[in-house]
């Protein structure tokens, strides 16, 4: 066997101890005769050791308590509520992190071991026909969002700063009646170089606003232009069983006066 005939895979398997004995013996001989073969084997050994060494320190770190608690809480009512906060602008919308994309997927799909059957929270626009995720959250909504829900007419957006992010909340439609007044909003966020958006429906019952459904993040629509109802905007409302949105005049009856 000459060096040129020894493939990378063979030398790697040799370095990893995965080569059958007969072949391994041949490589041992080749490596003894040819420094180039020995060098290639050494490189394969080194690459694994270095990759492992880079990540081994994590084994010595204590596992964050919230992860251990989350495991212990599996199957109990507290399951999924001990999630660490996400360091993202979505924290603003869902402060306790109880509705994260992953949590949403896990809840929506139940036990699915196989490769993705779709991203339930994916952009309605980029995944036509994708079911919006219904993710009820008991978390109190942020004050800035409540302001918009209570006072801002459909089509009139409000901007807020959140660290490096600029968050825009745009009411898309209103539904319901005095008993349960619901509003669909698009919460989009821009950051130097990128932007994303989620669409959410929040409902006011007995004076309290709760998040009823959420979809996205999707790519934010062009900012600054006239408001155009997104093609998919009815999907989320339809998923909740809502009919036609309220007219501007109807909506105004349920809004508090703008400040």
């Amino acid at each position: 066997m000459t060096a040129s005939k020894l493939s990378d895979e063979t030398l790697m398997a040799y370095a990893d101890g995965e080569l059958p004995d007969v072949e391994a013996d041949a490589v041992t001989v080749a490596a003894a005769l040819d420094p180039e073969v020995a060098r290639r084997v050494a490189l394969f050994k080194a690459s694994s050791r270095i990759a492992k060494a880079a990540f081994d320190p994590v084994l010595g770190e204590p596992v964050p308590p919230h992860l251990r608690e989350a495991v212990l809480a599996l199957g109990t009512h507290a399951s999924g509520r001990t999630r660490a906060p996400r360091r993202s602008w979505l924290d603003w919308l869902i402060p306790d992190g109880s509705v994260t994309p992953w949590a949403g997927v896990a809840a929506a799909l139940g036990c699915v071991l196989g490769i993705a059957v779709g991203w339930q929270l994916a952009s309605l626009r980029s995944v036509p026909g994708a079911a919006p995720s219904l993710a009820a959250s008991v978390a109190p909504l942020p004050a800035e969002l409540l302001e918009v829900l209570e006072r801002q007419p459909t089509g009139h957006s409000v901007l807020a700063s959140l660290g490096a992010w600029t968050v825009q909340v745009l009411p898309l439609a209103s539904y319901g009646d005095t008993a349960s007044f619901c509003r669909e909003v698009e919460v989009s966020s821009t950051f130097p170089g990128r932007s994303e958006a989620v669409r959410a429906i929040a409902c006011r019952t007995d004076g309290k606003w709760r998040l009823a459904a959420m979809a996205g993040p999707g790519t934010a629509r062009a900012q600054g232009g006239d408001y155009q109802p997104a093609a998919g905007s009815r999907d989320l409302a339809a998923a909740l069983g809502f009919g036609e949105p309220l007219s501007g005049a109807e909506e105004a009856r349920y809004l508090k006066a703008a400040r």
Binding site: D8, E9, M12, A13, A42, L43, F44, K45, A46, S47, S48, R49, I50, A51, K52, A53, A54, F55, D56, P57, V58, E61, P64, H66, L67, R68, A70, V71, L72, L74, G75, S79, R83, A84, R86, R87, W102, A103, V105, A106, G110, C111, V112, L113, G114, I115, A116, W119, L121, A122, S123, S126, V127, G193, R194, E196, G216, P217, G218, T219
Partner: protein
């Protein structure tokens, strides 16, 4: 059964965290992914056959969940591609070997590798699975594992520009 399951899961957390870190490159994303994986595993615990290695089974769930996430970010255009590298340097994982190499570099190079190559590197080189076990986790033939792994490791050594000091260290 469920207490046993949780005990085993708790014991595996450090290794699962290491795999999650190797996949995501950021400890925060790793912990998010790990928690989601535990939740999925719990729902699927009836499918864990007796005799199946729980680590391999958990790696599989995590891999699939993470692929979901990668697909999702590629449609929403955030945290994917080169931008994701911004998250990588986490001082806790930067250890110098002989003062020559910041190990954070390894994580950076890994994140630049195609997903399939990173998978096998994480499973075989870091987690110590055999080629056959890695093939089962990823649902690909063993030959695919080998070709991806050899390319991944060649890329790693090329991009890190291993010098003699590094080689000596790694050969110890």
């Amino acid at each position: 059964m469920s207490d046993e399951f949780k005990t085993e899961l708790l014991a595996l957390l450090p290794r699962l965290r290491r795999y999650a870190l190797a996949r995501t490159g950021s400890i925060h994303s790793a912990d998010d992914l790990l928690q989601a994986t535990c939740e999925r595993a719990w729902k699927c615990r009836d499918q864990l056959m007796p005799g199946t290695r729980m680590d391999s089974w958990m790696f599989k769930i995590m891999t699939n969940l993470h692929i979901d996430e990668i697909r999702a970010v590629s449609t929403r255009g955030i945290d994917a591609g080169p931008d994701a590298l911004e998250q990588v340097p986490d001082n806790r994982w930067q250890r110098r070997i002989e003062g020559k190499l910041v190990l954070g570099e390894v994580a950076q190079v890994m994140l630049q590798l195609p997903e399939g190559m990173r998978d096998v590197l994480a499973l075989v080189s870091i987690e110590g699975l055999s080629y056959r076990e890695a093939a089962a986790v990823l649902d690909v033939p063993m030959g695919t594992v080998m070709s991806r792994l050899s390319r991944a490791r060649t890329e790693l050594t090329n991009r890190l520009k291993l010098n003699q000091t590094m080689m000596d260290w790694a050969a110890e």
